[in-house]
């Protein structure tokens, strides 16, 4: 067990072995493990990001829904208001129309009444004249008493 040239061989062998181990074992395998570690870390962070994005999307969806509901409510109330306006409008117009129709009817009635009165007056005048004629046939000369008859007709 003395120290001899074996020492030199063993030093060379050791150095070479370190070189080989670095080249064929440590290098590729540690690179692989690092890559895997990175991949896992990336995956985890991507999952975290996805989760975060999902949360954001959910929140946004909620907001949009809320907005839509508010809009629908708005539209509904507007429609209601509009319909009541239309009804009110129609009522007013109908009233006006009714008034107008009523006025026209009134006017027509008055016209009719005056015409009937005229007709009646003429009828009565004729009747009176013919009656008076029948009564006065003998003693009244139509031409002599024409002035009197004229005044009579006018007074009826």
């Amino acid at each position: 067990m003395s120290i001899n040239a074996t020492l030199l061989i063993q030093i060379i062998a050791f150095v070479l072995l370190v070189w080989f181990v670095n080249k064929v074992l440590w290098g590729p395998l540690s690179k692989l493990m690092e890559e895997r570690q990175k991949k896992i870390a990336d995956g985890l962070s991507a999952a975290e990001k996805g989760k975060h994005e999902l949360e954001l999307a959910e929140q946004k969806a909620k907001e949009v829904l809320k907005e839509a509901k508010a809009q629908a409510q708005n539209i509904l109330s507007q429609a209601e208001k509009r319909s009541s306006e239309i009804v009110e409008d129609a009522k007013v117009k109908a009233n006006e129309e009714a008034d107008r129709i009523k006025a026209a009817a009134q006017a027509e009635i008055e016209q009719e009444v005056s015409r009937a009165r005229e007709d009646l007056r003429k009828e009565v005048a004729t009747l009176v004249v013919s009656g008076a004629e029948k009564i006065l046939r003998k003693e009244v000369d139509a031409s002599a008493h024409n002035d009197m008859l004229e005044t009579l007709v006018k007074s009826i």
Binding site: M1, N4, A5, Q10, V18, L25, W26, R36
Partner: protein
Amino acid sequence: MGTVEYIQHHLTNNSIGEGFWTFNMDTIVVSLLLGALIVFAAARLGKQLESGTPGGFQNFVESILDFVSTNVRDAFPGHNPLIAPLALTIFLWVWLMNFMDLIPVDLLPYLYQLITGDSHAYLKVVPTTDLNTTLAMAFTVFALIIFYNIKIKGVGGFIKMFLFHPFGKFFVPVNIVMTLIEEVSKPLSLALRLFGNMFAGELVFLLIALIGGTLAVGAAALFWAPLQVLLDLGWLIFHLLVITLQAFIFMVLTIVYLGMAHDEGH
């Protein structure tokens, strides 16, 4: 074969050469084979790497990788792309070399003797029970410590560390000695701790093997053989913890020492 010869035989390397230029072939071949095993297993795994659904073996390797990189993150300040692969290599290689200790002590030497036909051939199968292996790693780490000390602190900072640490500017000679001891003790403690643990572990395995091997003669074997199996099993389970712990300690101390070298406030 006597007890002493048996143990000595097991603790002698199969070597080529003379004096310093001796090569412990068993240490070299076994450690290179284990290193090649790591490389080939890694290369095979590299061809079928799956990012999404890793299979069983990839999961296993990934958990080791994760374990090492957690340790590096905890004990190493700043960033250096060399530290993690270095720590991983140390952990895997030392663990595999230590694991050779758990193979029955006589199995591989016996097979080797059968193959070579030499009934007296030496084979010491655990590379970490050879001080050359542990020192080789420790010196490499030491070289890196000095390199990063100079790279991070600069030559001036490195010298200042020797002059004014740990007692301030009035104890320069003491500081030099203290820092020298501190620095030199790093690789030595790394190497000797691993070597000592593995050597002692191997020795205990050998002693346990002796119980059945030499004491069991005739009817006495009925008592000694089961005892050997029982002790062997106990030590094996305990040693499984030891080899993992030693590989872990070597790795963590390497990270810590290099972290200290990167610490500018020193």
